[in-house]
């Protein structure tokens, strides 16, 4: 008996160990993102990598702010302030510590000095990243606003239309329903590429190029996947409630929005979140339809930022972090529905 419990302890310790290691592997890129966004450009290419954001240390000497460097004198490390650089590239130094060297002056080549750095995150990467955005975008607020409009309208459209259509498929009998349902399933397999060009031509005809409309308007016409999900959900609701309402003379609309909608709220919450993620993530849509910075959503703006500032990882990672943050916050607030959403999709299997 005791041996069994011992084995169980070892087993669970092992599982924890593997899980912890795995968690580290999955989380390290996040840490790298944050660290990089707070590092100096100089520290971007170091081996081994610099994990602690740091900056050049300075000292106040006779009213001047001077850089600190370290040199070796008499096998001892001496910290010095850089007074100035000579024309030949040498450094004129004055020793600061240890005490017995204090006040001594040296002139050494740049290569003999090491910069003294201390822990100091470069927070300015964040405002700097925003500063590089075109002025008309109001430091990126326009991108956030566009993304919010886009996700808001997509969510409203998807929730209303998909639930209506799903209700029709699940609870109402109408001629052609079965055939339509098969078609609905088939469209899920249709690659978007096939309809991409003609749909572009439709929006062009409507004069909607370079507006957000092509990105959210289709949501109001339902999406096959969500309709399918909600239909499955509607099917699990017993008939009794509906029948009672019918006898009371309720219209189908009343049944739909008074009885059905409250019953499928969990599923709608999941769909809301999935739609939000989809809209937040949408990249190809803006890539095709949007060209003015004032109309760009975040994800696309980030990609453009990358092409412009790929050589400045600090800024780029700061920008990525800012795009990621809202989604991560949302996730922590509504974790349950995220997971529910994924599980729901599994019903299909």
């Amino acid at each position: 008996m005791r041996r069994g419990s011992q084995r169980r302890v070892i087993r669970s310790a092992l599982i924890h160990l593997v899980l912890i290691l795995g968690s580290i592997v999955f989380l390290v890129p996040f840490a790298w993102l944050v660290v990089t966004s707070l590092k100096e450009d100089e520290d971007m290419s170091q081996f081994p990598p610099v994990w602690v954001p740091r900056q050049q240390a300075t000292v106040q000497l006779r009213g001047r702010t001077l850089r600190l460097v370290r040199i070796t004198r008499d096998d001892q490390r001496v910290t010095c302030a850089v007074l100035h650089e000579t024309e030949t590239g040498d450094q004129a130094l004055e020793a600061i510590s240890p005490a017995r060297f204090r006040g001594q002056r040296y002139r050494v080549p740049l290569s003999a000095t090491t910069k003294v750095k201390r822990f100091a995150p470069v927070w300015s990467n964040y405002p700097d990243a925003l500063k590089f955005l075109p002025p008309e975008t109001n430091r990126g607020l326009v991108f956030v606003w566009n993304t919010l409009i886009l996700s808001g309208l997509s969510i409203i459209g998807t929730v209303i239309s998909s639930s209506m259509v799903a209700y029709a498929f699940a609870r109402l009998r109408w001629p052609g329903r079965e055939a339509a349902f098969v078609i609905l399933l088939a469209t899920m397999m249709l690659p978007g590429a096939v309809t991409m060009m003609p749909v572009f031509l439709i929006f062009r005809w409507l004069g909607w190029i370079d507006t957000l409309r092509p990105l959210w308007a289709p949501a109001f016409l339902g999406s096959a996947f969500n309709i399918f999900l909600l239909r499955q959900f509607f099917l699990t609701i017993p008939n009794d409630l509906e029948d009672a309402a019918k006898i009371d003379g309720c219209s189908y609309w009343t049944i739909y929005h008074r009885i059905m909608i409250p019953l499928i709220k969990p599923a709608l919450a999941a769909i809301t979140i999935m739609t939000f993620m989809g809209a937040w993530n949408n990249f190809m849509g803006p890539l095709i339809y949007i060209s003015s910075p004032m109309k760009m959503p975040l994800a696309y703006a980030l990609q453009l930022f990358q092409t412009a500032h790929g050589g400045e990882p600090g800024l780029l990672m700061a920008a990525s972090a800012m795009v990621m943050l809202p989604v991560l916050v949302l996730f922590f607030l509504t974790q349950r529905y995220f997971i529910q959403g994924v599980t729901l999709t599994g019903i299909k299997g």
Binding site: H16, E42, L172, T187, P191, F283, I288, A299, Q303
Partner: protein
């Protein structure tokens, strides 16, 4: 979940606010009467530009809205979409060498009427004022389509300090190709582990391209009449061979690229930090040196040429280079154009005239110098395409210090005989293909292609485009009747169908009819959506696939031409994209399944803290794709000094097994594994599904198995796997459909945003949808793209059907047993 009673009210008010602001946003943009200019970039260093624009606003009272970021410039797809979508800017500042391409598509307005109109005006545009190379580059079929603004040319920069260190004479830089190669070798320094500490010279680092080497060697890419692509001429091929030789002498292009992937910009530019000792680059580099490395001991000389050219032009016996200038440079630069459909062409023309005037150039220089002086930086003017502007600026603003003045003079003196890229409607394609040929030839270890083969391939593609364009007019236009007939047939079918249904309605009882009508009502959004956004487009795209259609001109019936082109001339792309996607799916999907399932099994073990672990593993999968790709491009940087993964690799695998860190997205054979690794990071989303599956397995099955004496492995094989097979199946089907439509990550990680012509090195990340996107929205070959879409559709359909067919053999459904 408890939702407060007030929720609907809150929701409605949010909706109202959203709609309100949205409509407001629309009216605002419609009322806007600003002059919209694309392709100019305001930034930290653009005081001069700002001064020019503000002066124009002051003089004319016209408000100018300068849109940067993605608007036009190096991303032709955006400009094309805007023009096609009838929302073009008023002025576009565009790379000059693409003007021929744009003009040929009728996307820009010819400017001759404007020039003629104000022939006598004091501020008239006079062709003679501009450098010949700049002016000619903006002319297509005898008409002027753009007014050149800036220009640049190229020469060799070298670091004198490094020359001294390497024992080379800093006053005798290389003049010939051979000398360049030998200097490159001597200046290259390796680390103890064999990696580069410094490279002497990288042929295509900086800004030279195969164009320069080819012109130096007397090769031309296009025939005089513009009807034949001559990229595979022996001189250009020899030039490519020379570039390849340098890469090989340095240890191969992959190794060089791995080093180069760590290059940063601005003050950490590798030439400024001494990581590269020589480079061929444009005049703008002098400005960077002035700003970031005022202490750099550097020299600028004309780029080295083949010995033959130098000797023969310098009085040797007359050969093929006789009478030509000894040195070659080429100029590029920008120009202003007015897109077709621009709302305010008059104002646009006034703007253009002002922007290229000497007066504006002086104002620009004055503002920029003041800005630079305030920051203690020297001011080094750029080169204008307008010679008068240039002279005026140089007179007043030539740098005092000889270290900047001498190079600037050299660049300006070379301008009058600078070469320029051929003006042709296949200009972009020619550029793309020349870059591809370079890539293919230098990566000969992977591609097994000689420079000649690579150039032949490129030539064939460009020639195909040329031939097609010259034959286009012969194709019959798709008669509107055909479209009409098809629409009528489809419409009749639909009407008949609906009539039948309505008939059925009539025969129903009252209640049933009421229900049916409600059913149609509720399903209406999807029924309409299906008709408009699915059924209609499917028919249209099928029709388009047999057409030649560029949106701006009426479609022409091309028969099976799109398909034959796809399977013959462009077979390379088709095969490449399909094999790439097969690789990604074939390895990525199983790995994703294994990872997701393993994590789920660990999480299914009953230990504490599960929800925390679950959050950790799930977190990466909710990161927006773009942010994730941007992050991983950094994590998987090929340079171990920068990329996190390679740093780990270098610290462990290299000392243990002697494996060098891979180049990931910088190396052809590692780009796809990189993409898969990035994808695995998001495997957490699958894990939730697996977890649900695992928890759905009845515990009795395990107990029964244990009674039968099954161990852990046997239980997994005989209970877990069969019970999970529906989930595996679901993952396979969805994974395949998803993988075949891979796009976002590839666009970002393959460098497409940067205007690259390749999707990953040697097209290693080219996937079908990427290829389709480029054809549809970059080249606007809608017909061809539709044909490709149908090929893709058929492939997906077949794969799905095969999987469905095979499923009963291995997928185990619990219900069946009952």
């Amino acid at each position: 979940m408890r939702i407060p009673r007030t929720a609907p009210a809150i929701l409605l008010s949010i909706l109202a606010i959203l709609l309100l602001t949205l409509t407001q946003g629309c009216t605002r943009s419609e009322q806007s009467s600003d002059l919209v200019v694309w392709g100019l970039q305001y930034g930290e260093e653009s005081e001069g530009l700002r001064a020019r624009v503000q002066e124009f606003e002051r003089r004319t009272g016209i408000k100018v809205s300068v849109l940067s970021m993605g608007a036009g410039q190096m991303n032709p797809q955006k400009l094309m979409t805007a023009i096609v979508g009838n929302v073009p800017p008023d002025v576009i500042h565009q790379d000059r060498f693409t003007i021929g391409d744009w003009a040929s598509r009728d996307t820009f307005q010819a400017l001759d009427p404007f020039i003629a109109d104000d022939a006598r005006a004091p501020d008239a545009i006079r062709p003679g004022d501009f450098y010949p190379a700049c002016w000619k580059e903006a002319i297509y079929q005898g008409k002027v389509y753009a007014i050149p603004s800036s220009t640049d040319d190229r020469a060799l920069y070298y670091n004198k300090t490094l020359f001294r260190e390497a024992g080379l004479n800093p006053d005798a830089p290389p003049k010939t190709w051979d000398e360049l190669l030998s200097a490159a070798r001597k200046l290259t320094v390796l680390n103890r582990d064999g990696s580069f500490r410094r490279i002497g010279f990288i042929p295509n680092f900086g800004n030279s391209w195969l164009y320069l080497y080819s012109w130096q060697n007397g090769g031309e890419f296009m025939s005089e009449d513009g009807r034949t692509c001559t990229m595979d001429n022996p001189y250009s091929v020899a030039a490519l061979q020379y570039m390849t030789d340098i890469y090989d002498a340095l240890g191969g292009v992959t190794k060089v690229d791995a080093f180069a992937s760590g290059f940063q910009t601005q003050e950490l530019d590798p030439f400024l930090t001494g990581k590269v000792a020589m480079k061929i680059d444009g005049n703008w580099v002098v400005q960077g040196i002035g700003r970031y490395r005022p202490d750099l001991d550097f020299g600028v000389v004309p780029a080295p040429v083949p010995k033959e050219r130098l000797e023969q032009t310098l009085g040797g016996k007359p050969g093929r280079f006789h009478g030509q200038p000894p040195f070659v440079t080429w100029s590029g630069g920008f120009s202003y154009a007015i897109p077709r459909g621009a709302a305010r062409p008059r104002e646009a023309w006034a703007f253009i005239k002002w922007m290229v005037s000497p007066e504006a150039a002086l104002m620009d220089a004055r503002a920029q110098r003041a800005y630079n002086r305030a920051r203690g930086r020297p001011f080094i003017p750029g080169i204008s395409a307008n010679q008068r502007a240039n002279e005026a600026v140089y007179r007043e603003f030539a740098p005092k210090s000889a270290r900047y003045r001498v190079p600037l003079k050299l660049f300006m003196d070379m301008m009058p005989f600078a070469r320029y890229r051929p003006v042709t409607f296949v200009g972009q394609r020619l550029w793309d293909e020349h870059a591809r040929a370079f890539d293919q030839a230098t990566h000969h270890r992977e591609t097994r292609k000689t420079p000649l083969q690579a150039m032949r391939e490129g030539t064939r593609v460009v020639q195909g485009e040329l031939d097609k364009a010259f034959q286009r007019d012969r194709l019959p236009p798709l008669s509107p009747n055909t479209i009409l007939i098809i629409c009528v047939i489809c419409g009749l079918g639909a009407v008949a169908h609906i009539a039948q249904r309505v008939n059925a309605l009539r025969s129903m009882g009252r209640l049933a009819r009421r229900e049916a009508i409600a059913g149609f009502g509720f399903a209406a959004p999807w029924l309409i959506g299906f008709a408009v956004f699915t059924a209609g487009p499917i028919i249209t795209s099928l029709l388009l696939s047999f057409c030649d259609y560029d949106v701006l001109h009426p479609p022409r019936y091309a028969g099976l031409h799109n398909f034959t082109e796809l399977f013959t001339t462009d077979r390379y792309y088709l095969v490449k994209s399909l094999t790439n996607v097969a690789y990604l799916a074939g390895i990525g999907i199983p790995l994703g399944i294994v990872t997701g399932l393993s994590i789920a099994m660990l999480l299914n073990a009953r230990v504490g803290g599960m929800s925390v672990y679950r959050t950790f593993f799930y977190l990466p999968s909710i990161v927006p794709v773009v942010a994730s790709a941007v992050l991983w491009a950094w994590v998987l940087n090929g340079d171990p000094n920068r990329g996190l993964l390679n740093a780990g690799w270098k610290a462990t695998l290299t000392p243990w097994f002697g494996w060098d860190p891979p180049g990931w997205f910088g190396a052809a054979e590692w780009a796809k594994p990189g993409l898969i690794v990035q994808g695995l990071w998001g495997a957490g989303s699958g894990m939730i599904l697996w977890l649900a599956g695992l928890q759905g397995i009845p515990q009795q099955l395990y107990e029964a198995a244990e009674i039968d004496g099954a161990g852990a492995a046997a239980k997994f094989r005989n209970v877990t796997l069969p019970m999970l097979s529906p989930y595996v199946f679901f993952n396979l089907i969805m994974g395949t459909i998803g993988a075949l439509q891979e796009f976002d990550r590839v666009y970002i990680l393959g460098g497409q945003g940067a205007g690259a012509t390749q999707v990953g090195p040697v097209d290693s990340l080219l996937v079908p949808v990427m290829y389709l996107f480029n054809n549809a929205f970059k080249y606007f070959k809608m017909g061809y793209a539709s044909a490709l879409a149908w090929v893709l559709f058929v492939i997906i359909l077949v794969l799905t059907l095969v999987q469905l067919k095979l499923a009963p053999r291995w997928v185990h459904y619990e219900a069946e047993r009952k």
